[in-house]
Amino acid sequence: MSTASTTSPDISGASASGPKKQQGYWAGVGSRVRRDKITLICGGILLVMFLLIVFAPWIAPYDPLQGSMARRLKPVGWQGHLLGTDELGRDMLTRLMYGGRYSWFVGITPVTIAFAIGGSLGILAGFVGGKVNMLIMRATDVFYAFPSVLLAVAISGALGPGIFNAILSMTLVFIPPLIRVSESVTTSVRNLDYVESARATGASAFTIVRVHVLPNVMGPIFVYATTLISVSMILASGLSFLGLGVKPPTPEWGMMLNTLRTAIYSQPLLATLPGICIFVTSLCFNLLSDGLRGAMDVRN
C-alpha cells in the first residue's frame, strides 16, 4: 500500500500525456467504496457506536454504577429508561454506552497487536521458508495443542487479574492463527513469477516484501483479523466472568451478558441486548473490512 500511495501524485506529474486522465489510486478506492452500500452502512453504524461510546460521560442519561432495587429488570422503554434496567436497577442504555468503551478496547487491542506480531512472523515464515518456516510454524502448532479459551484463562490466571493482563493473554492466543493465515497466503504469493522476476532484478528481500508481497497478502490477513474482534470481545467477557478481566460493577458487554443471563426467562430482550451489541459490532467490522479489501483491490 505504500507503493500505491506514492503512485497517485506522480501519475499526473510524470506523464499526463494520456488523452484519458487516469484517476489516482485512492480516488479509485473512494469511488468503489461509495458504490458499495453494505460497506457504507456498516461504516456508518460503527461510527455512530464509536461516537456514543466516546462521548458516553457527556451524553449518557444516568450514572452507570448507580442502581435502585426498586427499578430492577424493568423492560425496554420503562419510565425514561430507553432500554430498561439491569438486575441491579441500573440504566441499560448508559451501561451499554460505558460498557462499549471496555468492550471495544478489549476487542480491538489484542487483535491489533496480534495482527502486527502474527502477521509479521507469518510473512517472515512464508517468505523465507525452509528452517525459519519450520521453526515458526512448529512453535505455532504448540499453541494449537490447547483450546484457545483454556489457553487465555491459563495465561491470564498465571499473570494475575487485571485488564492489561487479560489483553496480554488474548494477544498471545490470537497470534498463532494469524501466523497460520499470513504464512499460507505468503507462501502462495512467494512462488509466483513476479516475485521470482523481482528477485532476478537483484532487489533485496525487504524491497520485494514491501513492493510485491505485502500489497498482495494484506487483504486476507486483514479480513481474518477483523473476524477475531468478536471472538476477542466474547473471550474478554469470559475472563471477566472468571474474575480475570474487568471487575464488577464496571460495565462491559461480555460481563453484562453474563450477569443478565439469570434474567433470560423474565426479560429475554433485556438479557440479549449486550449480545446484540457484540454481534452488531463484530458483524459490521467484518463487513467493513471485507468491503475495504474489495475496494482496495484494483481488479474490481
Partner: protein
Amino acid sequence: MLQLPTMPDRGGPAQPLLIVKDLKKHFPLKGGLFGAGGKVQAVDGIDFEIRKGETLGIVGESGCGKSTASRLIMSLIEPTDGEIIFDGEKVGTSALPLKEYRRQVQMVFQDSYASLNPRLPIEESIAFGPMVHGLNRSRAIPRAHDLLTAVGLAPAQFAHRYPHELSGGQRQRVNIARALALRPRMLILDEPVSALDKSVEAQVLNMLQDLKAQFELTYLFISHDLNVVQHVADRVLVMYLGRVAEVGPVDSIFDAPRHPYTQALLASRPSMDPDQRRTEPPITGDPPNPVNPPSGCRFRTRCKIAEDVCASATPPLAEVAPMHQAACHANVTASGHSLAPREAA
C-alpha cells in the same frame, strides 16, 4: 551508472557470452523417517555455451529440466554443482558480483499474468528493476514509457493500466519491456509464446527478433514448440531428462538429427501432407522418473536402437557434424554399439 547504460563487452566477439560447465541441480526428496528420500536429478551435468548475438533454442519434453536450467542460469536457485561463466567472468566472484550479473541477464516467464504484480500499474512494474539499481523515479518512469513504446504499446494508453486490464499478448509485451528495463545483454525466454494464440504468437516472435537487433541482445529461447524454435533459433540444444542429448546449428539438427530422441521429436511434428499422416506415435511412454534415472544413456528405455552398451556406459557428447554434437553411442567411434562407426584401421 545512474543512467544504467548497457554493460560493455569485455571479452570481444570470440568470447562466448555464457558458458555453462557441468551444471547440476539435484532436489532432495523429503520422505522417510531418516531422510533417506533420494533426490530428483532435475539437471544432471549440462555443458553448453551461447555466443554473442545468437539465439540458442532449448527444446525437450515437460520435466526434462529446461525450466530448472533457466532458473539456474538466472541464479534464482543454487546449483548443486557446476559453474556459469558470463563473458569470461565466473558469476558470483568479485569480478562479476551477482547483482551486476543480474543486470546483464533477465528473464521472461511463460505465464504472463503470474509474472506481473497484479497490484502495480504496468509502468511501475517496468520501473521497478531500474529503481532497484539506483535510478530514481523521475528517470525510471520515462524509461518505462520508452520501453513500452519499444514493445509496441502506446504509453499514454497503457502505462497506468493494471495487468488484468491487458490481453495475454499485451501482458507478454509488458514482461519483455520489464526484462529489458535493466538493459541486459542476454534474455532468457522461458516459453514466452506458449500461452498465446497463434496470431499473437507470431507478432511477439517478430517483435523479439526486432528487439534483438535494436538492443544487441543474445537470446536463450526455451520452448517445446519445435516450429517456433526452428523459426527463431540459430542453434538448438535438445535436452532429455536433465542431460544434453544433442546440440548443433538449427539447420543441421532439423535436417539431419543424429540422436534417436531428436529424430523421434522431429517425427512427432504433425505433417502438412495428409498422405504422410502418421498413425504410430514415434515415441511411446513417459520419460523415466528423474529420481531413479536409467543407467548409462538415459534415453535407452524408450530408444529403438538401444543395446547393452547403452545401459553400461554414459554416451559422451561427440562431434557428429561441424559444430554439431550428439550424445549417442551409435555415433561414437568404437563405442561397442553395432551402428557405431568402425575404428579407422
